[in-house]
């Protein structure tokens, strides 16, 4: 390559535009193409614009894109999204611009004084006549580079807000009913989670929310997926993605993801990357699992374990009921014993009294019975003698009025009165036909005789 400086600052002025020289030609066109050059042969006067354009073209066309190492200074991110900074070493400075299209890929703003390596092409900003490096990529010299810087910065901010506080971590539900999964629909991570849950806890219902898990804007999509699942009545959310480079996993290091995890009303388990990959999502999640499979294992209780829990509960139910019965039986036994003891004591006393009383009573009664039965015999004999039946049997009759009262004397036999005559074998209806005559009883024999004359039947 010939020295461009010689051409640039030689006699020949530049052409009327860069377009004509996109062929990579290093020589300015001949001066005779310029009208004013023709009218003013000498000295050749360049416009400022011509100079700057010529220099810009020289810069852009002669120096390939290059990596430049240096120290970061005066980093400014403008509202337009373009970033400006200066790269310097102890002796020199280089102005740098990173346009929005590239700047959005910068995970974090670099820090003042950071040692950086930037990649880009040199150009000249014609309006100001300053030359600058148009930066396409920025890498930090320190380990992990800009990613680590961004990670550390967000992590410490979340720390300060308390979002990574262990006290904030919620326990996972022991027996979830519905589990949400945020993952790429075609990913091995999702297949792993489904397989593990299906093996361990097939009664669980899985609800998948598909999302991109890498690339520009993945963070916002992951965050939205977490939020939409969290509002769908799931008991726990798994965020799953397989391993990858830090750039691949970057979506999980973005602030919207951290915010969505922190805002989730149900616990979030982060199963992102491999064991060694730690993401912001891991830090804020209620549980960080090393892999997607481990996340699924943490969430899904093993069916054998559940069967064991059920068995244990069954035993405890049985024991509980047995204890209830036992405590009741004991109380019953106690009460029964007491009753029996008391009863026996009382019974013994009573029985002694009863025995004594019985003994006394039997003597009395026996004596009494003897006495009474003697009296009974006498009474019976007397009653037999007094009974009207035996008198009637001997032929006497008893005149009785309608009410069964005995008619004893003449006065009772008023003429026309009906009465009955009770004889030994029946009743004879009678009527007094005339006035009765009063007469004293002669003697028993005379009455017997007269009665004999009125006998009926027999």
């Amino acid at each position: 390559m010939s020295d461009p400086t010689l051409d640039l600052f030689g006699d020949a002025p530049p052409g009327d535009g860069g377009e004509a020289r996109r062929d990579g030609g290093r020589r300015p066109p001949p001066p005779r193409s310029e009208p004013e050059a023709r009218s003013l042969p000498a000295p050749r006067v360049w416009t400022v614009r011509q100079v700057n354009r010529a220099v810009r073209l020289q810069l852009e066309q002669t120096l390939p894109q290059l990596w430049v190492g240096g120290e970061m200074a005066n980093f400014r991110r403008q509202r337009s999204g373009h970033c400006y900074f200066t790269l310097k070493d102890d002796a020199a400075q280089l102005r740098c611009v990173m346009f929005r299209r590239e700047a959005v890929r910068l995970p974090a703003d670099p820090e003042e004084g950071m040692t950086l390596k930037v990649f880009g092409g040199l150009t000249l900003y014609e309006a100001r006549g300053v030359y600058q490096l148009v930066v396409a990529k920025v890498e930090a010299e320190s380990e992990g580079g800009m990613w680590k810087l961004a990670f550390d910065r967000l992590a410490s901010r979340l720390d300060a807000e308390g979002l990574t506080d262990p006290g904030r971590k919620r326990p996972l539900p022991a027996f979830p009913n519905r589990v949400g999964i945020v993952s790429s629909p075609t990913s091995a991570a999702l297949k792993d989670v489904i397989a593990v849950v299906g093996r361990r806890a097939p009664w669980v219902r899985l609800l998948v929310r598909s999302t991109r898990v890498q690339g520009q804007g993945a963070g916002a999509e992951i965050a939205a997926a977490i939020s939409s699942l969290a509002s769908r009545d799931v008991d726990v959310v798994i965020v799953a993605r397989g391993g990858g480079s830090i750039e691949d996993l970057w979506g999980f290091n973005e602030e919207p993801v951290a915010r969505a995890v922190a805002a989730s009303p149900v616990p979030v388990v982060s199963g992102v990357g491999h064991e060694t990959d730690v993401t912001i999502c891991d830090l804020v999640a209620d549980l960080r699992a090393a892999t997607p499979s481990a996340a699924a294992e943490a969430v899904a209780p093993d069916r054998k374990a559940v069967a064991g829990v059920l068995q244990g509960l069954g035993r405890r139910l049985g024991k509980g009921l047995a204890a209830q019965a036992r405590s009741r039986r004991w109380r019953l036994d106690q009460a029964g014993d007491m009753l029996v003891r008391r009863g026996r004591r009382r019974l013994a006393v009573s029985r002694a009294r009863l025995d004594a009383a019985g003994a006394r009573m039997s003597d009395t009664v026996r004596r009494r019975i003897r006495h009474e039965s003697g009296r009974l015999a006498e009474v019976a004999a007397a009653m037999d003698a007094l009974s009207p039946l035996s008198t009637l049997a001997r032929g006497y009759a008893l005149p009785l009025d309608g009410e069964g009262r005995l008619l004893r004397g003449v006065r009772d036999f008023t003429p026309g009165r009906d009465f009955g005559l009770r004889v030994v074998d029946g009743n004879v209806p009678c009527e007094v036909t005339g006035p009765a005559l009063g007469a004293p009883l002669p003697d028993a024999g005379a009455v017997a005789f007269e009665s004999g004359s009125t006998r009926h039947g027999s």
Partner: protein, 84 residues
């Protein structure tokens, strides 16, 4: 029934019953009724575990407003970069 209630709720109910049975304040009828209820839950939970089959659904729509049976997209519409 266990599916609506959820295994967690069922187990919690059984645990509550066990705790009640361990207490002294129950009438015998109550204790028996609780025991029967608990055994019923246990039996149904065991059947539930034995019969369950994994259901995978998918939340779709812009706002995630719809749920359908999950189908893995064909290899053709695999998103670039979804390699994990």
């Amino acid at each position: 029934m266990e599916a609506e209630r959820g295994l967690d709720a069922t187990l919690k109910r059984i645990e509550a019953i066990v705790a009640a049975l361990d207490s002294d304040s129950l009438g015998l009828d109550e204790a028996l009724a609780l025991f029967e209820e608990g055994v019923g839950h246990l039996r149904r939970a065991q059947e539930f575990l034995a019969m369950a089959e994994l259901r995978v659904e998918e939340l779709i729509g812009r706002e995630g407003e719809e749920v359908r049976e999950f189908r893995e997209p064909g290899q053709g519409d695999r998103d670039a970069g979804d390699d994990s």
